[in-house]
Point group: C2
Chain length 237, copies 2
């Protein structure tokens, strides 16, 4: 950009700035709702460009360009499989980054509450229940436990006895539930909002719905049992 007469007495400013530019470019890659949605899709498992274009309702070329941008900064990687290009998140750091951003968004309570209130209808949110309580009530059988994550993640591992209830289908599922039975909802973890959104919607429909502290990873870390779904072939890797 500028600097041409840099005597470089110590660390040269241009190198320092080059690194900062690198940081900024990673953030820039995340700074688009479309790319964020692409990452959310990829968080559920690797997908081809066509599937992603369809899910995100982006044009083909546009979707491809966004994916390339994400790849350029190392947030996703791709491989070819025949004619198809399969994209996936590079590693857990990408997930962690998304989770951290979501956590910060949540802590912007003032602003996010305006949005969440659109979901919750102004009803006050109850405290999450601990995993210990969840385990007790689950053993007693007097609660319904919902796994709000995408079906792929549910299949790969879930709390035994939980029902798979992807966010999109919570409303539909609610019609078959008894409103007098409490509902505990969980998702990916403390920074994931799926369970919050689902519980808010269920409370709005008159259910006694609460979220669970932490998500499946925390449950697993407690040393508690995890169930998987055996599907036709190798649906679970």
């Amino acid at each position: 950009m500028n600097d041409t007469y840099e005597p470089a007495p110590s660390m040269s400013t241009s190198n320092k700035l080059a690194l900062i530019d690198e940081y900024a470019s990673i953030a820039r890659a995340l700074a688009s709702p479309h790319r964020m949605r692409l990452l959310e899709q990829l968080a559920q498992g690797e997908k081809g460009v066509d599937a992603l274009a369809e899910k995100t309702e982006l044009s083909f070329a546009n979707c491809s360009q966004h994916l390339q941008e994400l790849r350029r900064v190392g947030l996703v990687t791709s491989r070819r499989e025949g004619k198809a290009a399969i994209y996936r998140l590079t590693d857990d750091d990408t997930l962690r980054l998304m989770a951290l951003i979501q956590k910060i968004a949540r802590q912007n309570i003032d602003r996010v509450d305006e949005i969440l209130d659109g979901i919750a209808g102004g009803i006050e949110r109850p405290e999450p229940v601990s995993r210990e309580v969840l385990a007790e009530r689950l053993a007693a059988g007097d609660v319904v436990v919902l796994d709000i994550r995408p079906p792929e993640e549910f299949a790969a591992g879930h709390i035994p006895g939980a029902l798979s209830a992807p966010l999109d289908e919570v409303g539909q599922l609610a019609e078959s539930l008894d409103p007098s039975t409490p509902i505990f909802a969980y998702c990916r973890g403390p920074y994931c909002l799926y369970a919050d959104r689902a519980a808010a919607e269920l409370r709005q429909r008159g259910f006694d719905a609460r979220t669970v502290e932490g998500g499946l990873p925390d449950w697993r870390a407690d040393g508690r049992p995890v169930a998987t779904v055996d599907r036709a072939v190798d649906a679970v890797i």
Copy 2:
């Protein structure tokens, strides 16, 4: 913004998108080298607008606008002190977010190496030394340990026996060191690049300089002793 005719059958799409927009806007706030530099400055401690404008070489109004953008998304907060507006990072999550982005940048080894090689001059980077080895060599007294963090952080706590060597001053300090004595450099932690940059520069000058695994927080977590600097009044909070 838009949506007026949303029957909201289950989770309404507009709420979902509103949240994703919120995430993206947080990332967008980070997606500018200038704002990233402002955050780096603020990571060293709270500062007024004038100090930040000077440090980052931004015009006053421009600096103020960038800070407002960071505040808008909750990454920093401000308070008034007389006529001055003092800004600081909202909480550790902002630091964590920066660290994670830096880590991802570092893992983009292909690209970042091109930049780091500009610092390292193509010399291969040795493995970091463990904190255990550091403690032994420090006790034996046959190494120089450098703390590459900003002076404020050094004052608040550092490895006993370490010299404060802010990145900007490493080159200058090097002139007073014996090139035959190995140098161990540390900074904030595994995702902070200060020590890497300092060690690269020192190696380029002919020193045997290596980084330490982890940073001061890890050292502290090991239960090892930490020294502080007592300054005039309440420099250390």
